[in-house]
Every structure is written in C-alpha cells, then in structure tokens.
C-alpha cells in the first residue's frame, strides 16, 4: 500500500478488481472490515472507509448479522464505469508518451495491430 491515493480508496479498488475478475462473484460475501485490516495491516477504520465507499457506490450491501455482499449487477456496473475511465487512465498517458517519442496516433495504431498479431 504505497501509492499516493488515500488507503481506503486503494482498498475499495482491490475489492472492485476482485468483482471484475470474478474472484468475488455476485451474491458472495466480501471480506469484513476486520479481515481487511488484518490482511493489509492497516487501521480497521481505514478498511471500514473503503467498504463504506463501495456501499455508497452500490457495489456492496449489508446483510444484517452476516456481512457485506456483492449485489447482482455489480460487475456490469463496474465494467461500464471502468470503460468510461479507460480513455483517461490508459489512452491519454499512452499518447503522451508516444508524442514524446515522436510517434503519432497512426504509429500507435499500427503498433497495436502488430502487437495483437504477434500474440
């Protein structure tokens, strides 16, 4: 845990990643605040903030006395949100670095095609 963003946000994002890659399926129980605190060796209040953010975003809900669960439709919602952010998070820095290396968008497209053919 050492990038610049607040810790609770990093915790929330890790759970989001698990929902997206299916390791935390819909209607399954998410890790509890105390489990997260112990695993990441962080203050339980920080872990609780991460969970609360996911609840506010509709990506977790509480079953009384049982724990936090992933609601149906959470994965689709997340994928949509990440797709919207894809340009800003990935394409913009990609093109900025390309420009520094004197490549234009066309060059980058060609590289992507060539790269894909290699796989």
């Amino acid at each position: 845990m050492d990038d610049a963003r607040p810790l609770f946000q990093q915790i929330a994002e890790q759970i989001e990643d698990s929902i997206i890659d299916g390791s935390l399926p819909e209607e399954s129980r998410a890790p509890s605040t105390n489990e997260l605190a112990a695993f990441h060796r962080i203050n339980p209040a920080t872990a609780a903030n991460g969970i609360n953010q996911l609840v506010a975003d509709g990506l977790l809900y509480k079953k009384r006395g049982v724990g936090m669960f992933v609601p149906a439709g959470a994965r689709e919602k997340l994928v949509e949100r990440r797709q919207e952010a894809f340009g800003r998070s990935y394409i913009a820095p990609l093109l900025a670095e390309a420009r520094r290396l004197e490549m234009d968008a066309e060059d980058v497209k060609k590289m992507i095609d060539a790269w894909r053919d290699d796989q």
């Binding site: 845990m1 990038d3 105390n34 605190a37 990441h40 060796r41 962080i42 203050n43 209040a45 920080t46």
Partner: protein, 304 residues
C-alpha cells in the same frame, strides 16, 4: 469524542521547558501516533496524562477529570514505558499477575497466548531477562489489559522484526474486536504508518503537526526534475526540503500544487516518515534561525 485533552500545558524542569504550551486531544477508540525526536517532550506529555507528573501550568483531562492521584481514572489507563522497572524479587509471572489485578478488563487467555508467542520465560527473574524479553513483558501487559486508554512509549527496545510484526498484528486484530484509545510513541514511523489514524508530532516541547494520517498523506509530494521546472511547479508552496545536483532538483513541498505542468517532472507520494522528519527539520531550522531554540538539536540532526 475526546477522552484525553491537554490545554496550554507546560512542564518546566529548571530552565528547560520539556513541554511548552501544548494542546491536543486523544479521540475515543482511535489509534494515535505520538511522534518526535528524542527529548522532544513525548514521554513528559505521556507522564502528565497518566498522572505521574503534574504540569507546571495548563490543564490535563482524562475522561473529563484530572488524572493526578485519581484511582478511578488511572484504572482505565495503561501506560507501557520503555524504562519500566519491576521489584527485584519479581519473576516475569509476577509482573503479569500484578497487571491482572490492576486492570479490570484483563484477558488471561489472551495474555497466555501472547506469552507463548513471544516465548517469555515466566519463571525467570525480571532483572535477568534480556532487553527484548523485558519489552515483551510490557507489550503483553499493554495488549491483555485492554485498558480504555493504552499508551505504548517506545515498547520495542530489543524486540526483533518478527516480534514487532507479531505485536502489530495482535494490536490490529485485538483493537478491531475491542476498540479502545491507543497511543503509539515510536521512532519506527514507517512500521506504524498504516496503523495509526491520527498523527501528533512534538518537537522541542511544541506541537508541529496534528492531523489525520489520511490528510497528511495527501498534504505533501516529492517533486524531482530539471531545476527550473521544479521551481515553477512548487512556486507559492512551502518547500520543506530541497536537494540539488547539477541542473536537477528534488523538493518536498507541502500542499499539492494542482493544474501545473508536470510533463518533465516526477511527482511522488511522501511517506509519513519522510513528512515527519522533514517537517521537524524545517521547524528546527526556523527556530535556530530566530535564535529561539532551547539548546537541543542543531536543525540538521539525524532522526534517531
């Protein structure tokens, strides 16, 4: 809610103000870091809020009351000192038995598990224990006492990395189950950075930082790159630390400049330890510059 408050507290020893007009709060059920260099006034502050010393002036309140000779308040406070002394005839078991009698929330099962884990020889005389074993006596008492206010003043002397990690792991897990107000006073800031929720830094008897860890994390950045670009980027912000090499500069700026060109710059987060060290040095240098210091430190001293 504040369970401990210091208001305008000063403690004078002869000409030295060990604590100088200090005000801060400890909030209920939070883990606080009380940080600062040796001789900064941390231990003096903790002795006052545990009723072991009386302030020269100012007000100390614990659960709303004066802690001095106040048995009701003190039964709810556990203070683990680096320099804790035990009677010569004590074996380790006696120290734990004494603690079990003093603290109403004492958990014997938990204490037994900790004894096992820290490999504490219960039948050895306390004065024959190694430095690390002596520290583990304190750590075990501090955890198993489950006192509503628990203070650990440099509890680690002689504890190896494995034992320290065990302490942190138990602290997090037990605090999660039994929330209470905890103060960690330590030089090993990186080790506790993600555990403490609130940071108070004392330097030369004065508070130089008092904020939540989350706020502090987003309050400063390290910027490096060509000198000119770095200067443009940090213009108008307080530069806590600066290093130059050829045309290359690295600064630690407080406040995060936004909307500025960062193309040629590397902007990195600052660890809590970095922030505390640089802020302390910054204040030391400012004091030395104004001739206002009380003789301790020279503004560039190493952190230890």
């Amino acid at each position: 809610m504040s369970v401990v408050s210091l208001r305008g507290v000063t403690k004078r020893y002869g000409d030295t103000r060990a604590v100088d007009d200090v005000s801060f709060d400890l909030h209920e059920n939070r883990i606080h870091g009380l940080l600062g260099r040796n001789g900064a006034g941390k231990s003096t502050a903790m002795r006052m809020l545990t009723g072991q010393e009386v302030p020269t002036s100012g007000q100390v309140r614990v659960f709303g009351e004066n802690p001095y000779e106040n048995a009701d308040v003190l039964s709810r406070v556990c203070f683990i000192k680096e320099s804790q002394r035990y009677p010569d005839i004590f074996v380790a078991r006696h120290a734990l038995e004494a603690a079990a009698m003093v603290f109403p929330n004492w958990d014997q099962d938990f204490a037994d598990r900790l004894v096992e884990e820290f490999r504490l020889p219960l039948k050895s005389r306390v004065r024959k224990l190694s430095r690390g074993q002596l520290s583990s006596v304190g750590v075990i008492i501090g955890l198993a006492a489950r006192a509503p206010v628990t203070l650990f003043d440099e509890p680690y002397l002689g504890l190896d990395a494995v034992a320290r990690q065990a302490f942190y792991d138990h602290l997090i897990a037990d605090y999660a189950e039994h929330p209470r107000t905890i103060v960690l006073s330590t030089h090993l800031i990186d080790e506790v950075a993600d555990i403490i929720e609130h940071v108070t830094v004392i330097d030369r008897g004065r508070i130089v930082m008092d904020d939540s860890s989350e706020n502090l994390r987003s309050q400063a950045v390290t910027v490096s790159g060509p000198t000119k670009a770095v200067e443009q980027f940090s213009d108008g912000h307080e530069v806590l630390h600066r290093e130059d090499l050829g045309g290359f500069t690295r600064v630690l700026v407080s406040g995060v400049p936004t909307g500025r060109d960062t193309a040629s710059l590397q902007v990195e987060p600052v660890s809590l330890q970095q922030l505390v060290v640089r802020t302390t040095q910054f204040h030391d240098a400012a004091l030395a510059g104004s001739g206002n210091g009380n003789g301790k430190g020279n503004g560039k001293g190493a952190w230890s």
